[in-house]
Subunit: 431 residues, 2 copies
């Protein structure tokens, strides 16, 4: 079986839903479908989920769910175009629920609920309500029972549709995941039925090698591993929600990111292992404006307590050094600016308790993560990175490699960050 | 004033001492001379200091200082050749002292003592006994009073000779420094008199860019900083005793390593600051067979306690990670094999207390330190290093830069360590 999740743009209007049907019907294995709420059709549109939150607020303010009319019109228009019956009753039921004060989670979840109900009719598939199946613990984790419960429901040979983004708590009340949570529902569903692949249908043709807002025309990455995607996300890439990988990765279910508008494209495969010989690097991501705290203490290596106390002081101030480099007499650590609101006091405390020879806040750095399994087994990746920086007259301030086999971290002065990112991207995107 | 220290080979025989005189007399500023004990003239020779330790043992064993005859012959031969009077009385005094059981420190110090006495006669200089001037605390540190005491003694306009390697404790008993300690005496003397330069005369024409036992014909480094020399020593280079830098570095007294046999060569200058634009890199050193402990823990960055506890466990087993690299979900630390005798228990303790997702002792690494002030302000150093490794088909396992501005650390598989060291050296020695 193949589990398909369709995102907001794939169900935003009737013409998109026709594409969805075509995709589903072109492969009989596509039997378990997860859907999002309709997204924007254009910049003037509001997302259905945002409108639902607005309705809930309106009810709380005693105005009644005024904005529900826009929602009603969106779904009605789709159903009318596609000849889907019964949407009026579904909308009435949802509006009544919101107006009865069932709260924000209930309201927000109804976009997916209505999408799934509507598509179940259109595709002649069986609707499964996530609230009946996926139980969330008080800290928002999926109970293990959800996997077997879902599997038990998928007995027949037909298609099933399940709304993304929510489950229910121990009292049976609707509880939503974090935003973007339909990806998580898709992953849970894939694991529950032991899918051969989890197809995640979006409006892009796959994951890109770098942020298209920062570099020119990044290519689509054909294949990358769970680990590579995690490292890319850690150093700033807005790739694929980590919680949506966790359910499938231990079960070796590949995730295939696809484009509903270009179903002929193979998209991106996220897998357990890959052959990195042809594509050593899968992504270039980064974050700018890291603060750099530099400490000098003669023979630092001989004082193990120094580093323990140093980390303890940072911890007391809720600072976790994201990156660290140790020298013989010195220690450099990088943290995002956001963590350093209290930096003056932190520096004072370090000075008074540890008496370093030198303690300074250095000029901020941009960090670039070059990620790929090929770094560890192919010769010349570091040479390529540093040669291209040298050719572009960019000096290197920080290098960290070895903590992870698959990420080479390079720091440059913040004002050179974009130049460096673009130069490195260009180098590897050509390959 | 210039302070000159002459090492063991410079006073090993009469012909060498003639060179010493020529050097001293060629510059009237060379007025404070520190001398070592005579070293080996050839491979069959024993060092005077070693013979003195033997004499002390012989006395303890009740055999009398049998070996003293060899010492007597060495000094007598030199003095006879150079026409120096009075050596017999000096030797008698020393032999009597050793035979009276004054102990190992006293015995060992007599090589320098006799050298200095002998040269004082030869150069018509004033002998100053280090035991009267340099007081050592119980933990072997020089008391501050030694600097002013020495300065007070240098009142005249003539030359002064002081034996290296020893001082005296609070009871007035002779106490030696660690071996090679005459360099320390020289540094103390230079600081005491505020020397314009501390000349350290040896049998090499300066510090070499790399270990000549490992690479072909390393060049002499013309100039490097105290900090560069310290970092070179930290990553394995056998350069210049750190304790012999400490006294002069805060006083900006340059150290000039010179060759007694080639006094026309400028040697190596060790200075506070240098212009690194022409010579970005001053040395390549390294150590092989570092053990690599690798730990994986999902979202390591979110658990500051993990690293604190990790370091605490290591500390409890007397392991100080010399180098460390942190990834997002992992941590790699390198320690010399010698520290890891108890590694099985350490790994168990880490496993039981920290429950990492993965804990392994990885294949050992050789670490190469590329040291030079030019790394931080010249573009392309990292590019050169990694390009040359790539050209030599050597893969990179570990990189650390930024903890120190002036050292780029590169780790390679242990079996490729020498190849990598040689390739990098060749690259920078050419420049």
């Amino acid at each position: 079986m193949i589990v398909c999740k369709f995102g907001g743009s794939s169900v935003a209007e009737a013409s998109q839903i026709l594409k969805v049907r075509k995709i589903i019907e072109s492969n009989s294995k596509r039997r378990l479908i997860v859907v999002s709420a309709p997204g924007k059709r254009n910049n003037a549109d509001k997302k259905i989920t945002d409108l639902l939150y607005t309705c809930n607020k309106e009810v709380k303010n005693g105005e009644g769910a005024k904005s529900f009319k826009i929602i009603r019109d969106r779904y009605s228009e789709i159903c009318e175009t596609l000849g889907i019956d019964g949407i009026t009753e579904m909308l009435d039921e949802v509006q009544a629920g919101i107006e009865s004060g069932k709260g924000a989670d209930y309201a927000a979840s109804r976009g997916e609920y209505l999408s799934a109900r509507m598509l179940a009719v259109f595709l002649e598939a069986e609707f499964i309500d996530s609230a009946d199946i996926l139980k969330l613990s008080d800290d928002g984790r999926i109970e293990e029972s959800g996997y077997s419960a879902l599997k038990a429901r998928i007995k027949g040979t037909g298609r099933y549709i399940i709304p993304g983004f929510y489950g229910s708590d121990s009292n049976g009340n609707i509880k939503t995941f974090s935003r973007g949570g339909s990806d998580i529902t898709g992953a849970i569903a894939a694991r529950a039925v032991g899918a051969e692949v989890y197809e995640n249908w979006t409006d892009v043709s796959g994951l890109l090698m770098a942020d298209p807002r920062l570099v020119d025309n990044p290519c689509v990455v054909k294949e990358l591993t769970y680990k590579e995607i995690r490292e890319l996300a850690s150093i700033g890439a807005n790739v694929f929600h980590e919680d949506a990988i966790t359910p499938v990765k231990d079960y070796n279910i590949p995730i295939n990111i696809r484009n509903t508008n270009k179903p002929e494209m193979p998209g991106t495969m996220i897998v357990t292992n890959r052959d990195s010989s042809k594509t050593p690097i899968v992504g270039i991501s980064g974050k700018n404006n890291y603060q750099n705290i530099f400490v000098e203490k003669l023979r630092l290596n001989r004082y193990p307590d120094f580093r323990i106390k140093f980390l303890s002081i940072l911890k007391a101030h809720d600072i976790v050094p994201e990156f660290e480099s140790t020298g013989f007499d010195s220690l450099s650590f990088l943290a995002p600016e956001s963590q350093l609101a209290d930096i003056e006091n932190v520096l004072k405390e370090i000075q008074n308790n540890l008496h370093p020879d030198l303690l300074e806040l250095r000029s901020s750095l941009g960090l670039i993560g070059i990620v790929g399994g090929g770094i560890s087994n192919q010769i010349g990746v570091a040479a390529s990175v540093f040669s291209v920086l040298s050719l572009n007259n960019i000096n290197v301030r920080f290098i960290n490699y070895g903590g992870s086999d698959i990420t080479l971290l390079v720091g440059v002065d913040s004002n050179l960050y974009l130049d460096a990112l673009r130069a490195i991207h260009k180098k590897f995107d050509e390959e």
